[in-house]
Point group: D2
Chain length 408, copies 4
């Protein structure tokens, strides 16, 4: 008698391979679901290990169109520095998993996340939002599981016992999570926040010190705040139309020039600080270019408001609340603002950095005549007098109050 | 009969030299005041031109201690990118000018700012705040002046007539404003926002393409959110104690490695967009390091609130409202937050970029044991279950509402 | 030779009657435009005075649908207390005025606002937004006008000279501005903020002390956050469908019960404080009811964000920036949030106050079973343990930091 | 052998009386702690029941000075309507409880809160913040307890068995929580949010319909945003100096006039909506008066920022995070703002409502001359022209962009 049907989010690694076997041991009927979200993975090998009882789903296109593009439109950034690559991937993975679970009549879903991290929260809030009555099995929070497997050796032994082929790569002293937007590194030696990561940790991008000595230049075309064409003005190559291809091309150029490395101590949703390193090549280029184009096309006050709401939006998404009323609320304004974010931004990539070299737009709010220091056409400098005098009324009143007060 | 006594903010350039002569022509008794705020300037030559009737004041120390340090504590940044170098200099220049004007019994102050920019606002709001009844003479907003001097040739001719020595440097096709925190470039050829600035425009920093091929590493020590010591771990040099010397050393290393260039379209207070290029070498290094240290030492929610108020503070300061109730209000919280921002940040400078390589603090909120993925000591993963389940209540309710609503 | 064609916003009062005559004296071709926005006014008399050369426009319907309803959806309130009755009327008055000015080929528009208030700003920002090249004549800021008319006697004399019939009502020692949403009182004896307004000043509402001794009850039905039906459950009367009729009925009941009086010191856009008294009967009832219904139907986090948006929106509208990018930005999200604000709120009106007595909604997020203290069905109290323990991690870390710090 | 020493927060009611006995049954050494925070309670009877093994602590003075006054300074309000009476009481109760627990060497503290509410969170976050290693026993979340006592009859039977004297009052069909700031009603028949509460539920305040037909007037004097003197100008009575006496007097007058009733659906921290009714007589008067005085004395921009801070602060306190870094952060600025909030506010109380009738301050920012519509002294109306023209630049640019865009 089966305890019921489980759909496991399978990663191809040792943990979820063991979880899969363990769930079967526990009497569940188990299906594996592996998302291809752009990570570097031996999908063939995974198929041999687990996907006899499951399937890979290529969700890269949805990831770019439904998550990455809105992130670009929002200039999404967490705690001023992190581009949210892991958090952005979760909703699209969850959505497909719940879709399959519903279709296959699974009463349970499961994942291999640990009990201290953000990802357990993101997966489960996604599951519950999309399927309020689903039941979730979380082996790494179940003492029956985590006491049985106190470390890697126990998992390896169990894998051997269960006939799970384990690629005998030397284990790295850190964990990674990868998708087409970014790769993250945490845990292991990185748990000392003062420890500089070793040169060979960084996997996606060329070390800036080894990057080409010649810069490369791109013109990125935006429509409604979304990139629609990339021209490499250094070599004439043009990529356009296909969202996925366009993003992957930006990644390729960004990786070559060492763009998008980051090393931070961040605040997890559960209230602990953790140290993470990230590489987000294409995303870093796009954010710089999009922010710049908004400088030209967005009204000043809209920009201020949007910047405030972006900070909040980043929190919401980091905390796993993509499927929430508040995310929809904020994005209604943000989407409205993007209709005028059209134009071209010129960027230079060199040794790890992105430089903006110019921008233009059919919806520009910049008026060369008005801005010019040499022209007075259409602008009466006398008006500034009134503007300043009126603006000073409040400040002068305060200073008078203060002076009077200090005398008391 | 003199019309009264004017204290002119004198820059040493053609404009304020002519304004000085013109004010005398108009029947004012004129004094010149020249602030040494770290700009590269021939103070000797200025003395010959104008300072017979005035004086230079070295306000570099006050600038660093009273303005730059609070900016560092606040992670001050305007529109996500600009470090506010010009806006930060104005309050300290104004303050000294009003101090002298009061001492010398001047009824008037004057400046050489144009009628379209931010600086006229910053100067005058500063003046009115510090001296509510002062009168301000603004030649570039006075038709009697600006019609007389429609362009540079008219000014040069007048200078010649008045015997003002003009250094015959070829005029650059842009304007600059410099102080020890930054230099700005605007106007002229930069008025086309799509025009890439010429390589020889950038004056403070080495072109990243020409910067050293070997990175240089610093350990920056903070106390109360303020830098107190810089160790150059690449060469053993240590700078500490003296605020000004410390900041100038960071500038020196930053300039060498091409750090802190920026090219943007920004929103002026008077509501027009303008294009500006900036170099802020030391400030860029300090901001990166300080933000990082706050990651380790500030509570998550304090950080979120502080980030919100920093955005507002940047607006306030950009708009020239340093001497305002709202600036004091925000800074009361920010100052309170900095008591725990103590520690050391390791940075690497290379070809225009600043990389963080580690950080430590006696006030760290990071707990290696709690953060560790390998330890469960003191953390019960089962609690995460409850946390997620409770957190999901609201999200599930919303999805139920939505589903019900869509069926209606 | 005419100097050009002016469309004057005509109020029917002494000021704009004199302005009309004065503009003709100055050589303009003048047309008068009088908005019927629900104020109590002798439109017949106005017609005799000025509308031979102009027309009244009934814009009450647009006012309610285009301005008042969005204000209700937004819970619009300024500085925590004022419902913005004057600011809301301006955009709809401006819009019609510019429409007529364009149609009639006027190069100029004019108004009778003084040079210290908010309304000059609201009118003119409206004009310039809707017709960027229009020219505005503002007699009360023109020394030629204001020096000629230093007080009421001079205006009366001029009116007599020009044959303008002036109703010989004793002048009240305050000014008013009225529309169907509210009436405001300011200036005159009210300029002393410690002076209690006389009982006979309040014009719209019955004095709460004289209001009926028996309360009256209404059930207000909302759809998309907009009132669509009012049932008077005390007498069985029902008003529905017609926006204007519905709002006027709420006004009628509110006035009878003395609802919506306010006496404040507020901050004008130009930076001075002013004292204003207001009566907003229907608006006060609607705001209380709408806020309450959002308690039942809006997600918590949406409510928090919307409350922030509303504070900003109130500023924007108060400052006369209805026709702005930022107003549209904020309203995109607010409109999105209102789709679920459907249901009925029961209110009691009594002696100046509005009491909420119950509410229901087909889109309620309230779940009686989950909320019940007596039921555990579907809720596991054990989860609260985990929630609290995880939530406490951050707080405990801070207290540890603090304790350690204090020991240093 | 005792399992250890527990300090129980004892309320005098049936629940905590049974918990006390049950904890002893479980083998704990139990002490009871009863806070006198101004609730109406038979402390004598409580003493007979439980306080043989414990003590009452009168913490009313601390409550007013340390919690209520900062709430007044902050204009603290949750979701726009609720004055946070329960949330404000918790920190002062917790603090004393932890103080005693430490002194008495208790390893455990305990409370009688249910597993669905806010108060469990508030108590426990308070405990953990003040004593990070304390252990908390929560019977209403322990199946061993809540399964044993599924309803009131089981508790009554157990009480009888244990010889706990139970006052045989008929049980009310709702729960209450009372302190000197407010009383709350929830649960029972109130769980239907459309059910109007019965007239006899409201306990603190006279029904507005039965309140005196004659209004009563107070002049409330503030110093640093804190009330320091109340003059009843209707009868000449003056209360001053003693914080507690002053607050209790405001309560007395407020109760008499039916001030401060509220009926809402609110959002609990754990994500569910609940319906609550509240009476906060003195607090409602004070908030209205303090908000009004800030209108006169606070700078406009400070007020806007403070209003934002207050919204956030209310969330923090509602959620039980009084002892947090973020509360301290916000209060640093709020405290700074209050130095100028000095003066007198005149209020009228009548039939449930509070009316402001005037205000004055030695720190007023209101300038009668500048505000006056009849005076131009010190104000040049021409400056408004420049102010408006400059302000319109941005709005016109946006309208041009929009028009151009719509044509595309």
């Amino acid at each position: 008698m089966s305890k019921g049907k489980v759909l496991l989010a399978y990663s191809g690694g040792l943990d979820t391979s063991c979880i899969l076997a363990w769930l079967i041991d526990q009497g569940y009927e188990v299906m594996a679901y592996m998302a291809n979200i752009g990570q570097e993975e031996d999908f063939k090998a995974a198929e041999q290990k687990a996907l006899k009882i499951g399937a890979t789903k290529d969700i890269r296109q949805e990831f770019v169109s439904d998550l990455v593009w809105p992130a670009v439109q929002s200039n999404l950034i967490y705690e001023g520095v992190y581009l949210l690559g892991t958090a952005l991937a979760r909703p699209v993975i969850c959505k497909k998993q719940i879709e399959i679970a519903k279709r296959e009549g699974c009463q349970f879903v499961s994942h291999g996340c640990t009990g201290k991290g953000n990802d357990q929260v993101r997966f489960e809030l996604g599951y519950y939002s999309l399927h309020p009555t689903i039941q979730v099995i979380t082996p790494w929070r179940d003492p029956a599981f985590f006491n049985k497997f106190p470390g890697r050796p126990a998992l390896l032994e169990y894998a051997k016992l269960k006939g799970i082929p384990v690629v005998q790569t030397a284990s790295k002293p850190w964990s990674t999570d990868e998708n087409l937007y970014h790769i993250s590194y945490e845990a292991g030696i990185l748990e000392n926040p003062d420890q500089t990561p070793p040169k060979d940790m960084w996997k996606l991008t060329v070390d800036p010190e080894d990057a080409p000595n010649t810069p490369e230049r791109l013109s990125i075309h935006f429509s409604n705040g979304i990139p629609v064409k990339v021209e490499n003005t250094s070599n004439g190559k043009i990529v356009e139309k296909d969202d996925l291809a366009l993003f992957l091309y930006l990644n390729e150029v960004g990786r070559k020039h060492g763009v998008g490395r980051l090393d931070i101590v961040e605040n997890r949703f559960i209230g602990i600080k953790s140290r993470g390193c990230y590489e987000t090549p294409g995303g870093t280029i796009l954010r710089a270019a999009h922010v710049d184009l908004e400088g030209l096309t967005l009204d000043r006050e809209v920009r201020r408001l949007k910047d405030q709401y972006t900070q909040k939006l980043a929190e919401i998404i980091y905390n796993g609340m993509w499927f929430s009323a508040e995310r929809e609320f904020l994005m209604a304004s943000i989407a409205h603002s993007q209709t005028v974010v059209n134009g071209v931004v010129k960027v230079k990539l060199f040794k790890g950095a992105v430089y903006i070299e110019g921008r233009s737009s059919p919806n520009s709010l910049y008026d060369e005549k008005v801005a010019s220091m040499d022209e007075t056409d259409g602008f009466h400098p006398e008006f500034s007098e009134g503007f300043i005098r009126i603006t000073s009324i409040r400040l002068r009143a305060y200073m008078n109050q203060k002076e009077k007060f200090q005398k008391q």
